[in-house]
């Protein structure tokens, strides 16, 4: 089985999705929750300092959303290329 054109295109789109989603993943946990936490803690979200909120609540919500976005994107992509079964 040689990788044909549609398989290559499918894989490249998948890699593009991964790059985007994993950037968000990195930004909201390592970025907002760790590296920038002191700066964000100057801002308050209700009773939460914002950086602390990202580290203990926000990042987890975003992780869940990321996976479901990925599921959605890939289901559509599978259909587009006829790779779903």
């Amino acid at each position: 089985m040689k990788q044909n054109y549609s398989q290559k295109a499918y894989w490249n789109t998948n890699l593009k999705y991964l790059a985007i989603l994993l950037s968000v993943w990195f930004l909201c946990s390592y970025g907002f929750g760790i590296l920038l936490v002191d700066q964000l803690n100057q801002i308050n979200l209700g009773g939460f300092p914002l950086g602390f909120w990202f580290a203990q609540q926000g990042s987890i919500y975003i992780f869940v959303v990321l996976i479901f976005v990925y599921v959605r994107l890939m289901n559509n992509l599978d259909k587009k290329y006829g790779f779903d079964d």
């Binding site: 009773g47 909120w53 203990q56 992780f63 996976i67 479901f68 599921v71 079964d85």
Partner: protein
């Protein structure tokens, strides 16, 4: 009814339920035994994965750790959930498409080498055994506190229950008991959290209660109040950290990569029908896990405030009954250093008179908040569900590694399916006994090593599997040397800086790059990647059929029925 009667009742009902499910879902073939027949629905698999994943550490210890470390405890929250993003995006769909039974199966086939398979089996056994011993110990502690039996008797009761449904039902029995265990444990975790949230803030949703103002008319935010109390007693401000950022970063990454590389989590995705289902059930699993993981930091805050307000500067004789109960277990100790009859609970170790084991925060929380007896009993049943479900998942990995990866794939390829199933059951029995032995006679290093199991998984499996999927040119020489260098480096660092096996444990100022043993998995993982890629450049490309296999697993269409005779 007293707490103890309630506990016997609720724990008894849940145990009867698990045994009933085990009898109903007996395994008839190796396919049933290893991957539950391969037809588990995404929701059931999501629930089972969540229960499999959330261990005694998540249920009992995590909120307690956060309670005492504040912001620094975030590493566990992010680390143990963020790994599912990696799992869903980088591993689960492709491993499901590959369609075999175990992680060493994938590594052995992808790297066309029995050496790679054996290295993977050793890594899987190392990770799983260290992890399972901690679970059996957790079962023993819960039994001894709530049912007032000896810890060892508790461990043995736990062993018998797990033995029953793991040996009889294999993955099929485990999957459906885990579904029940998820329901028990999440209910048991949420009920006290909701009660306490209403008590303290008037908001029934703990995640929101945590950021609300107090219920006492003072209009002060709960977190603000806790920051005030903490600094007053000389502790760090709760919402700011004490650890250095490099270490926080490294620990979080090691936990994430470790989570997605843990064999007992990965095999769960072999049990669904299609690639599509694998992605979806990873999402559902994380959603179900997130319910507990976003509540835990709220529980941590409530428990901390309650504890400080109950004990700080109060006379010892006025302490409530739970205080005396936990003193008996030795997990709570008071020493009246200045002889004034009051409890001084402060950061300064010279003056501090109260020592609180972090593990009791969740278990004692309902008592501290004066909740009804049935809630306390529920927490006991929930922690047992958490510990037993994880132990069962790990035991299955151990038995499959022995009967499938070693016996069937290497030593006795001609073994019949029937005999392989017998071998699988026997190895499960042996594994339970070994785990029970460690639970009863815990080597001093078990607690330390459980946390490091993630480092081991991050240093060995994660890079090897990711490269196997995303880098077609990756060959066996690269993968094997990467795994060996990664896991050896991790073991060396643990032995030197954590276990003190190589002479005296050096002080933390000598840590490499300021990274603790818990976070070192990140360094070992990066080294594994580098070694694999370098070695691969100087050795022959993998055979064509392997390269074709890699292209094939990238496309979801036509995922094979999981086959047993290959």
């Amino acid at each position: 009814m007293s707490v103890q009667v309630w506990t016997y009742l609720i724990v008894g009902i849940t145990f009867a339920l698990y045994i009933g499910i085990a009898i109903w879902s007996r395994a008839g073939s190796t396919k049933d035994f290893y991957v539950a027949g391969g037809g588990v629905s995404p929701l059931a698999n999501g629930m089972a994965t969540a229960a499999d994943w959330m261990s005694a550490a998540s249920f009992i210890s995590m909120a307690g750790i956060i309670s005492f470390t504040g912001y620094d405890g975030s590493v566990y929250l992010m680390g143990w959930t963020g790994g599912y993003v990696l799992l869903a995006l980088l591993l689960a769909p492709y491993l499901r498409k590959f369609g075999k039974f175990t992680v060493p199966d994938f590594i052995g086939d992808r790297y066309y080498s029995d050496t790679a398979r054996i290295v993977a089996v050793i890594c899987a056994l190392l990770v799983s055994f260290t992890y399972v011993a901690g679970q059996m110990r957790g079962v023993g502690v819960v039994f001894s506190r709530f049912l007032e039996v000896d810890i060892n008797t508790g461990v043995i009761i736990g062993m018998i229950i797990v033995l029953f449904y793991a040996v009889l039902g294999g993955m099929k029995g485990i999957t459906y008991t885990q579904v029940a265990q998820y329901c028990v444990l999440i209910f048991a975790f949420m009920v006290p959290a909701i009660f306490i949230s209403i008590q303290m803030t008037g908001n029934p949703i703990p995640q929101l209660g945590m950021s609300s103002t107090l219920n006492d008319g003072s209009d002060v935010y709960l977190l603000e109040k806790l920051n005030g109390l903490s600094t007053e007693l000389g502790f760090n401000e709760y919402t700011s950290g004490a650890k250095n950022k490099v270490d926080i970063f490294a620990i979080t990454l090691a936990l994430m990569a470790g989570t997605s590389g843990l064999p007992h989590v990965i095999v769960r995705f072999f049990t669904v029908k299609k690639v599509k289902d694998a992605r979806k059930s990873a999402g559902l699993a994380l959603l179900l896990i997130a319910i507990l993981y976003t509540t835990a930091p709220a529980v941590a805050v409530f428990a901390r405030v309650n504890l400080i307000e109950t004990v700080s500067d109060k006379p010892y004789i006025s302490m409530p009954e739970w205080f005396k109960n936990w003193e008996k277990t030795g997990l709570l100790t008071f020493e009246d250093k200045n002889q004034d009859g009051n409890i001084q609970y402060v950061a300064d170790a010279q003056i501090n008179e109260l020592k609180v084991d972090r593990d009791i925060m969740v278990l004692a929380n309902p008592e501290i908040a004066n909740l009804p007896a049935w809630v306390i009993a529920l927490v006991a049943a929930g922690s047992l569900a958490a510990a037993l479900s994880t132990a069962a998942g790990l035991l299955l990995v151990i038995s499959a590694s022995v009967s499938h990866d070693l016996i069937k794939k290497i030593f006795l390829p001609t073994i019949s399916e029937k005999r392989e199933l017998i071998a699988a059951r026997l190895s499960a029995v042996v594994a339970v006994c070994v785990a029970g032995y460690f639970g009863i006679n815990p080597p001093g290093f078990v607690a330390a090593v459980v946390a490091l199991a993630f480092g081991l998984a991050a240093a060995s499996f994660f890079p090897t599997i990711v490269l196997g999927i995303f880098y077609k040119r990756m060959n066996k020489e690269g993968a094997i040397s990467g795994m060996i260098v990664g896991i050896s480096l991790m073991l060396f660092y643990m032995a030197k800086f954590k276990l003190g096996w190589l002479g005296e444990t050096p002080p933390s100022s000598q840590w490499w790059f300021g990274i603790s043993p818990e976070g070192f998995g990140t360094v070992a993982m990066i080294i594994n990647f580098i070694v694999s890629l370098l070695v691969c450049q100087f050795t022959a490309a993998p055979p064509l059929e392997v390269q074709e296999m890699v292209l094939n697993i990238r496309i979801p269409k036509g995922s094979p029925e999981i086959i047993s005779n290959h």
